[in-house]
């Protein structure tokens, strides 16, 4: 599921903000972030570096959990799970905190209230518009990958919490299915 999140996040943002009628667009996610200003698409190198780092970590975590899920009772499985289950959770928490902080900073510095979800009309401060009143409709919302990340994080935490039980069940079933060697009757 983590790998699915990474794949979808390359095409669909976790959070999107649109100003005007598609005049300004911000596609934000820990995997891929880009901006579109009146048809001029651009990325910020620092964000791109962070995105690539997050993507590598998420893929590594996803592969670790995938291998763990195949053999949860193996000796190395606990380490794989410990490494893998945190990745989507950390991405989710850091992304949410970062987004929340960004909207607060923009609100504090520029005096513009940006919604995390929903639409509103923002009047730009007149200091930036030379006395002209500029009112911009803004719509923002979380996308499907964000919800998928919440789901995958929940599943990863569940896997961590029930790891011992799962490993025990698998070990028991493996023991049961093990061939019983019977000795031939003595004549």
């Amino acid at each position: 599921m983590v790998l699915l999140v990474v794949a979808i996040s390359l095409f669909t943002p976790w959070w999107q903000l649109i100003a005007g009628e598609n005049l300004v667009r911000a596609n934000v996610s820990p995997i891929y972030t880009n901006f579109d200003f009146m048809g001029l698409a651009f990325t910020i190198p620092l964000l791109l570096a962070l995105n690539i780092s997050t993507m590598i970590l998420m893929i590594a975590g996803g592969i670790a959990v995938l291998i763990y899920s195949l053999r949860p009772s193996a000796s190395y499985s606990e380490q794989l799970l410990s490494f893998g289950y945190k990745k989507p959770l950390y991405s989710l928490v850091l992304f949410t905190i970062g987004l929340f902080a960004m909207t607060l900073i923009v609100g504090y510095v520029l005096g513009i209230s940006i919604p995390l979800i929903g639409s509103t009309r923002v009047v730009l401060p007149t200091e930036f518009t030379q006395g002209t009143t500029v009112s911009v409709p803004i719509a923002a919302g979380f996308g499907l990958p964000y919800l998928l990340t919440i789901a995958s994080s929940t599943l990863c935490i569940a896997a961590r919490l029930f790891h011992r039980k799962i490993a025990l069940i698998q070990k028991t079933s493996t023991d049961k299915t093990a061939p019983i060697v019977t000795t031939p009757p003595v004549a």
Binding site: A19, G20, E21, N22, L23, D36, F37, M38, G39, L40, F42, T43, I44, P45, G131, T132, T133, V134, S135, V136, P137
Partner: protein, 142 residues
Amino acid sequence: MIIPPDLEEIATVGTDAKAIELPKYVGSTYDAASRTVTAEFSFTNPFDSDLVLNSVSADVECSAHVIPLGHAELTNPLEVRAGTTATIVIVFTWTQTAENHFLTAHQNADSIDIVLVNLGLDVSGIDIETPENINLTVPLAQ
């Protein structure tokens, strides 16, 4: 401070006066029966995205006597494709007061100086209301 070249380009587009040119007056026709002047302006969209001009409106005053002459507005919403030039059609409807004013104060004038006040625009959903007035000289038909 290090500014990425992409951001620099955006800042240039946002601040460079050459990037956005004001609409150019092309010509006008008038209809005395309906008391309207239809003025045409050409506007070039310098951006890489389409712009939709949803509304343009302004009150028109006589510049010399500060008398309200009427109201001007965009006839129909207009989509200006990226990098193309489109013709903006603005219809000014003058009032009976304006007509009387033309006959008394500008009887033999070839043109009249007007000022556009309370100028409002809706461009791709962004509402712009400017406190600045725009002065124009409009030829008068005798």
